[in-house]
């Protein structure tokens, strides 16, 4: 019961953060929102008994991609027109 409630809450958080990362015009905020989505998705993968995928998602989605995106924003413009 509690497990499924947590699961539903986490799924809603993933959906909301994914939509937010589309909605934000400030690209840095969009990237941070994407990072939160990856982090919550990691917990969901772990709850679904897929620790391999969870580790890969945490390392690549929440750390490496964000680092590369932040560097790219720094090299270009911060706001989307």
């Amino acid at each position: 019961m509690i497990t499924s409630a947590i699961f539903i809450i986490l799924s809603v958080v993933v959906l909301v953060t994914a939509l937010l990362s589309l909605y934000f015009r400030d690209l840095l905020a969009a990237v941070v929102s994407y990072s939160v989505m990856s982090l919550v998705l990691t917990v969901i993968f772990f709850q679904l008994d897929a620790p391999d995928v969870a580790i890969a998602e945490a390392a690549i989605g929440a750390a490496l991609t964000i680092c590369i995106f932040v560097i790219a924003i720094r090299l270009t413009r911060r706001r989307e027109e």
Partner: protein, 282 residues
């Protein structure tokens, strides 16, 4: 315009439908096998197809016997479909090569202005002591976790790709806390050498078992000295020296992924460092 949006909606529903069909055929979570009798007889493979309706049934029943690896995912990735993994590694190698080629020409054209360390303290200039010290303390732990994931890839969840990505995220931590190199050329040399070394080990091991087939697991059940320890069937903690060439392949992939992703991060970060003066601050 309208036709395009209708088509995209249709393809979306089609993909979601296929996904739901796939999900409905999955095993229930936590119930991998109907009966555990298949683990009693060591020598005979379960080829009885009456209960084996999907491919994962076959892997779950025979994976430990055939590859000596406790982690079924690793046995699939590095043994049953090792050739696909070689393809993935080659794709990553090509991506890293092309990106670093492009970035290296951009890096070489500009003068390196990398006097970022404070000469008195030895720490990066534009970072607080807390950030640089924290990164300095965290980096060995992240590396150790990545090495653990790579080395235990055939026993516990993890493996070469995940471990290499975790280690590369340690490199990202060092870079964002301004631990940078003044010797970008030597960094390129060392990193590209080790990246090539990983892929070469993978292909070389593949050719070592060419007597049977490419990437044949010739070390499994060979000798405990050469990673060939025979493991118990069923759920068990496992041994480090089992599974034949799986740990070596995992190590090769780990080396390749770590140095490949690190070289992308290092070159991108140094490019952004140097352009900082010319661009407007946000």
């Amino acid at each position: 315009m309208k036709v395009g949006s209708i088509g995209s909606f249709l393809s979306l529903f089609l993909i979601v439908g296929f996904l739901f069909v796939g999900i409905s055929r999955l095993h229930p979570v936590g119930e991998p096998l109907g009966n555990r009798d298949v683990f009693k007889d060591r020598n005979s493979l379960v080829t009885d197809t009456s209960n084996v309706d999907t491919m994962d049934d076959y892997f779950l029943r025979n994976g430990q016997r055939e590859t000596g690896s406790n982690n079924i995912v690793a046995s699939v990735v590095f043994d049953y479909r090792a050739f696909d993994t070689l393809g993935e590694a080659t794709v990553l190698f090509l991506v890293v090569s092309s990106i670093s080629m492009l970035l290296y020409t951009a890096l070489k054209q500009k003068k390196m202005v990398l006097e970022l360390k404070d000469p008195e303290t030895g720490f990066p200039k534009n970072m607080t002591r807390i950030v640089s010290n924290g990164a300095y303390l965290m980096y060995p732990m992240i590396l150790a976790f990545g090495v653990y994931l790579v080395a235990h890839g055939h026993i516990s969840p993890g493996g070469g790709f995940q471990g290499g990505a975790v280690m590369a995220s340690g490199t990202a931590l060092l870079l964002v806390s301004s631990y940078i190199t003044n010797h970008i050329k030597n960094t390129y040399k060392i990193f590209s050498f080790y990246e090539s070394l990983g892929l070469t080990i993978f292909i070389g091991l593949g050719f070592a078992g060419i007597g049977v087939s490419f990437l044949f697991n010739f070390l499994a059940d060979f000798s405990p000295l050469f990673l060939g320890r025979i493991i118990n069937l069923g759920p068990n903690p496992g041994f480090l020296n089992s599974a034949g060439i799986l740990p070596i392949l995992s190590l090769a992939i780990g080396i390749e992924v770590f140095f490949g992703l690190s070289i992308i991060l290092v070159s991108l970060f140094h490019l952004s460092r140097k352009e900082e003066n010319t661009l407007q601050k946000y």
